[in-house]
């Protein structure tokens, strides 16, 4: 790892300006989990880490807080850790998908340092991207090694020209819960947009996964107030139960009204270069009476657009199984034994 200095500035404006004005050698640090990985692996050698944690006062409190805003939305600051989020008891039960996802990521030690913002903005775990010697599409090269290489952990949906899967475990549940993100722009104003717009797919630009310009800072995610009876669920499958990245994840949100499903949202994780919303599954479920059979058909519909590579078609039945489990949990339909 290279030598670097740490810069601590007390306001968001100064922090943002410090990163924006500069050479690529200045980067923002929050939890520092993925950043330090990059530095240790020789993928990134910044000479200055600008500490988001140094921001104080009301700005700092807002970055670290979870609170209900005047419009009824729940605002989760970007510096809230996954550990805090998963253990936050005042969160409505409707947001179970989000707290479960936060509570299942990585290890307790990492969850105590990793932040919500960092989780959404981290770079992919693709082993070609992470190999210091390889210049792949994501690093300005001309090919995605995964396409013909070992892509067991790669995308089955929305892939090409890059086949990474988005590494965030919060991305899919936040998508299912209709969250929006709040971003500090370089002119000092903020913009808000649906979380789906935060994520950049490889056809737009294979070199980045999010829509933030240099110097822009993700401040918070905001969740709409859940209507009565809203339920959500998150499921994931891993090769290893202690500290591993998911092979696939499913997040759903729905409510039951008069025996039928309403407000259904389905989002899948670790199957596509972005958190993957499934309008096909949602359309099949909306307005229908919940049943094991319906869920099975919805899971098949969710993977209908899948285009697996030669070695990762297993993710199709896998994510189908996870989506079925999540639907059973959210709709309280007992799982078959």
């Amino acid at each position: 790892m290279n030598r670097f200095s740490i810069v601590r500035l007390p306001t968001l404006q100064a922090t943002s300006a410090r990163v924006a004005e500069s050479s690529p050698g200045r980067v923002l640090r929050a939890g520092g989990i993925d950043l330090l990985d990059h530095m240790k692996e020789g993928l990134n050698a910044p000479d200055e880490l600008v500490e988001l944690h140094a921001v104080g006062g009301d700005e700092g409190r807002a970055l670290r807080g979870i609170e209900t805003e005047a419009d009824g939305r729940l605002r989760v600051g970007a510096l809230v850790t996954l550990g805090q989020l998963s253990g936050f008891e005042a969160l409505p039960a409707a947001f179970t998908a989000l707290t479960d996802a936060a509570g299942h990521a990585a290890t307790p030690g990492i969850r105590n340092a990793a932040t919500v913002g960092g989780n959404l903005l981290q770079r992919p775990r693709c082993w070609y991207y992470r190999h210091a010697d390889l210049v792949c599409l994501k690093k300005g090269g001309d090919m995605c090694f995964a396409q013909t290489g070992d892509h067991r952990y790669h995308a089955i949906l929305g892939g090409g020209p890059s086949y990474i899967v988005h590494p965030s475990s919060l991305g899919a549940p936040l998508t299912a819960l209709d969250a929006e993100v709040e971003i500090l722009q370089n002119d000092g104003t903020t913009r808000r947009m649906p979380i789906a717009k935060l994520f950049v797919g490889p056809t737009v630009d294979p070199m980045r996964e999010h829509d933030l310009a240099p110097g822009e800072i993700l401040l918070a995610v905001r969740l709409p107030p859940p209507p009565a009876g809203l339920r959500s669920a998150y499921t994931s499958a891993k090769e290893k139960q202690s500290q591993d990245w998911p092979l696939a994840e499913a997040s759903v949100r729905l409510r039951s009204e008069g025996g039928t499903l309403r407000d259904v949202r389905v989002a899948l994780g670790h199957v596509a270069p972005v958190p993957w919303r499934s309008p096909q599954a949602e359309a099949m479920l909306e307005g229908q009476a919940p049943s094991a059979d319906l869920f099975e058909r919805a899971a098949v519909a969710a993977t209908e657009p899948a285009r697996p590579l030669s070695g990762n078609a297993y993710k199709i039945p896998l994510v189908q199984g996870l989506l079925r489990q999540a639907l059973h949990a959210a709709a309280s339909v007992p799982l078959p034994q």
């Binding site: 775990r125 090694f145 499958a237 139960q241 697996p308 297993y314 078959p336």
Partner: protein, 788 residues
């Protein structure tokens, strides 16, 4: 001196027999079934446990000496290349750099990504690494092959252009190794056979054939390979090394630098794991000993070289993979023929055999033939890894037996019992089945299959075979009784983690009948007398008998001191359980006797003779005890996601006389954990096109974590083998042999279809269940087909 005759009570359980042995007079009367021991065999916590958990224990990684430099090694990024030119002049000028050496020669063929090219020593580790980037190397890249079966093809690039020299270590199974001549990349290993397998298969009424594969596993010791070299004069050096064989480090450094072995002082106070890859000063795929020693010589300063995790994965050894075709024949309900044909790659190294399960366990099967082959590929060399070959062979054979049993509608336990002659293993199978609830569990899994349950459970079992490879005269131990009553035991053995210092303290406490706190054990240092490497599960059975002999001799001399004080003949001195000497109606405490020792101490040194007995059954091909073991595993599998969990494993093992049940269980736990990890997740991934390892870290090279670890029950079947004077037999290796096999058999029981490739990951389970669309269906993009 004339030999002395002893009659020993040997055997296990209720089957104790009397045997006569004739032993050198220097050999203590062996402990047998009639011996009543007070300290040996009891649960003594590790004497250095508090040092380890409090961080006071200093591992090689922690050692620092004044003026020490740090080394870093430049490694070839290419799977095959010829080194055209190398220029280190710029690197030598970098800040902090004190020495730069070329390790590879111009014109040399470099055969795997990770091979040594050059090295730097600098004041700080990051200076050394930065300087590597300034070394200019020109490579001429060459064709390469990294996939095992692809390398067997006629058109595959040839890895070795000359006959291959075997690199054998104390970690290899004695008697294994050797091989025929090289053809292309394939070298046959010695065949083992009995009966006529071709005829046996022809006579069979049920035949099962399957192809079973296992991945390359890396040792992944928590402490990486490395050493610190300090030249003490032009002809002597001190070496701190993370090694499982202090004396192999001494010999390698002496040979490489032309020194007398006695002038190479090697210290390994604590060792963060080895698993077979840490013999000698160097790693199997990197000349670490030469590099550190040469840099230290050129820089005229001590040099420390520790591998990083990437290097540890690519060039410090691994367990070879395997591709095994197993054909079994059943005839009239019996196992009539076993044929195994295997190909495996140890990269550029040798030793991809598949162990002895097939030939050595089911000895009532009349026709057996095992033909294994080393396949050379452009990968880092394999080396011994905890029971070399055995877990691979056990997995293929035991799962195949279960598949045959299913075709024959036989219970797999009954089929095994009918063909295994080893009385201890048969007992273990029967007792294990009762303790595990085998029959009820098999019934439950059948019901789950019948109902097509979403969550299935299954149970499986597998066996292990290993030998007592304890060596004669390899360990020379010193026992001293000090005038202050302290007992000191010295031997230059290293503790690989099994807890040998604790066991040696127990031997001292036992012989002198003194409290453990009065016994000091000095170890981990070549100055403390020759010893064995911790490989082949031979440490305890090689060292404890030598220590006991030394203690008994010292105690004999102490008895003479007591006799003189008590004014009685030596034979009339009686020691009681408090260590007090009685004779002639008088008594002297241990302290009182010790005060009368002439000089500083009584000092005795001793070794042990060759193994003299092997109750109840010998290891095939040698006069040594055969060690038996059986494990049973339960799996739970989610058929929607393919995720396999292992809730419990029962490990039933024999390891001769149990020295310390705590350290023994700890070793068995380690073996089961390693085996479960091998079953469920471990695998080195080399990219076929790039020839490089894709997961050289501990994130995507997955190793079992706390949440994945089964509940492990250990059942010990103590055997009085009459092999040496303590009756100790090893356990390190046997305890990991059957685990993955038992888990794979359990998964077959749960699903009703086999998963014939390790690790048993969700993709393979879903494929076995027929749920994965074939390439091309579901509009799958067809990239080229790959072997995984």
């Amino acid at each position: 001196m004339a030999d002395v005759k002893h009659t020993l009570s040997l055997g296990f359980g209720a089957s104790i027999v009397k045997k006569k042995v004739s032993l050198p007079a220097t050999e203590a009367r062996p402990w047998d079934a009639t011996s009543e021991l007070k300290v040996v065999g009891t649960e003594v916590p590790r004497i250095d446990g508090h040092l380890k958990v409090s961080g006071q224990a200093k591992y090689t990684f922690d050692v620092a000496v004044p003026d020490m430099l740090w080394a870093a090694v430049l490694r070839s990024p290419h799977p095959a290349a010829r080194l055209d030119s190398i220029d280190t002049s710029e690197a030598a000028k970098q800040p902090g750099v004190r020495a730069v050496i070329e390790v590879a020669k111009r014109g040399e063929r470099l055969l795997f990504a990770g091979q040594d090219v050059a090295a730097v020593a600098a004041k700080r580790p990051e200076q050394a690494r930065d300087a590597l980037a300034k070394i200019r190397v020109k490579y001429e890249t060459q064709p390469y092959v990294v996939e095992t079966m692809e390398a067997t093809g006629e058109r595959a690039p040839v890895v070795h252009q000359a006959p291959v020299k075997e690199r054998r270590t104390e970690g290899d199974e004695p008697g294994a190794g050797g091989g025929g001549s090289l053809r292309g990349n394939v070298r046959p290993l010695p065949e083992s056979a009995r009966g006529n397998v071709t005829q046996g298969l022809a006579q069979s009424d049920v035949v099962h054939e399957g192809v079973y594969t296992t991945p390359v596993q890396t040792h992944s010791a928590l402490e990486t390979h490395g050493l610190l070299v300090r030249w003490d004069s032009r002809k002597s050096m001190t070496v701190w090394c993370s090694t499982q064989s202090i004396f192999s480090v001494r010999d390698e450094m002496a040979e490489v630098f032309g020194l007398e072995p006695r002038n190479v002082h090697v210290i390994t106070e604590y060792l963060g794991g080895g698993f077979g890859a840490k013999f000698g000063a160097s790693a199997p795929g990197s000349r670490l000993g030469f590099i550190a020693g040469q840099l230290a010589r050129e820089a005229k300063a001590p040099v420390k070289l520790m591998c990083d995790r990437h290097e540890e994965h690519v060039c410090t050894g691994n367990r070879p993979d395997s591709h095994q075709t197993v054909t079994l024949g059943g005839r009239r309900g019996r196992l009539h023929a076993i044929e195994v044909k295997s190909y495996g790659t140890a990269g550029i190294g040798t030793g991809a055999g598949v162990g002895r399960n097939a030939i050595g366990i089911y000895t009532r099967c009349p026709n057996v033939r095992v033909r294994a082959h080393d396949v050379f590929t452009n990968g880092g060399p394999g080396t011994a890894m905890r029971a070399p070959g055995h877990p691979q062979g056990a997995f293929a054979l035991e799962l195949a037996i279960d598949e045959l049993a299913a075709k024959m509608k036989a219970d797999p336990l009954a089929l095994r019992l009918a063909h295994d002659e080893h009385p201890v293993r048969r007992y273990q199978m029967q007792e294990g089945a009762k303790a595990f609830g085998w029959e009820e569990a098999r019934e439950r899994s059948a019901q789950g299959r019948e109902r097509q349950a979403r969550i299935r459970r299954g149970v499986g079992m597998a066996a292990s075979i290993w030998g007592d490879f304890g060596r004669a005269k390899a360990a020379r131990a010193t026992a001293s009784v000090m005038r202050d009553g302290t007992i000191e035991i010295k031997n230059g053995v290293q503790d690989i983690g099994g807890g040998i210092p604790t066991v040696l303290a127990q031997i001292g406490a036992e012989v002198f009948r003194r409290p453990l706190s009065t016994v000091v054990v000095r170890y981990g240092d070549s100055e403390y007398g020759s010893s064995v490497g911790s490989g082949g599960s031979q440490t305890t059975s090689s060292v404890t008998p030598a220590v006991r002999n030394a203690c008994e001799q010292a105690r004999g001399e102490l008895t003479e001191v007591a006799a003189a004080q008590l004014k009685v003949a030596v034979k009339d001195v009686r020691w009681d359980d408090e260590g007090t000497a009685h004779g002639g109606g008088k008594s002297l405490t241990f302290a009182q006797v010790c005060k009368k020792i002439d000089g500083e101490a009584i000092v005795a040194t001793a070794t042990r003779p060759a193994t003299y007995g092997h109750e109840p059954m010998a290891f095939p091909g040698g006069p040594m005890v055969q060690i038996a073991g059986v494990q049973m595993a339960e799996v739970e599998v989610d058929t929607w996601t393919g995720v396999v969990r292992v809730p419990r494993v029962l490990a039933v093992h024999d390891c001769g006389r149990v020295m310390n049940p705590l350290t023994l269980r700890s070793q068995v736990n380690g073996g089961v954990i390693l085996g479960t990890s091998y079953a469920l997740m471990e695998q080195r991934v080399l990219d076929n096109d790039l020839g490089r390892m894709l997961n050289p870290n501990l994130e995507s090279y997955k190793i079992l974590g706390a949440r994945d670890t089964p509940k492990i029950e250990v059942l010990l079947t103590e055997v009085y083998a009459g092999n040496n004077n303590t009756g100790a037999v090893g356990i390190g290796e046997p305890s990991t042999i059957p685990t993955a096999a038992a888990i794979a058999c359990a998964l077959f029981d749960a699903l009703g279809v086999p998963v014939r490739s390790l690790p048993l990951t969700p993709d393979r389970v879903l494929t076995a269940l027929g749920k994965v669309p074939a390439p091309g269906s579901n509009k799958a993009t067809l990239a080229r087909r790959r072997i995984r």
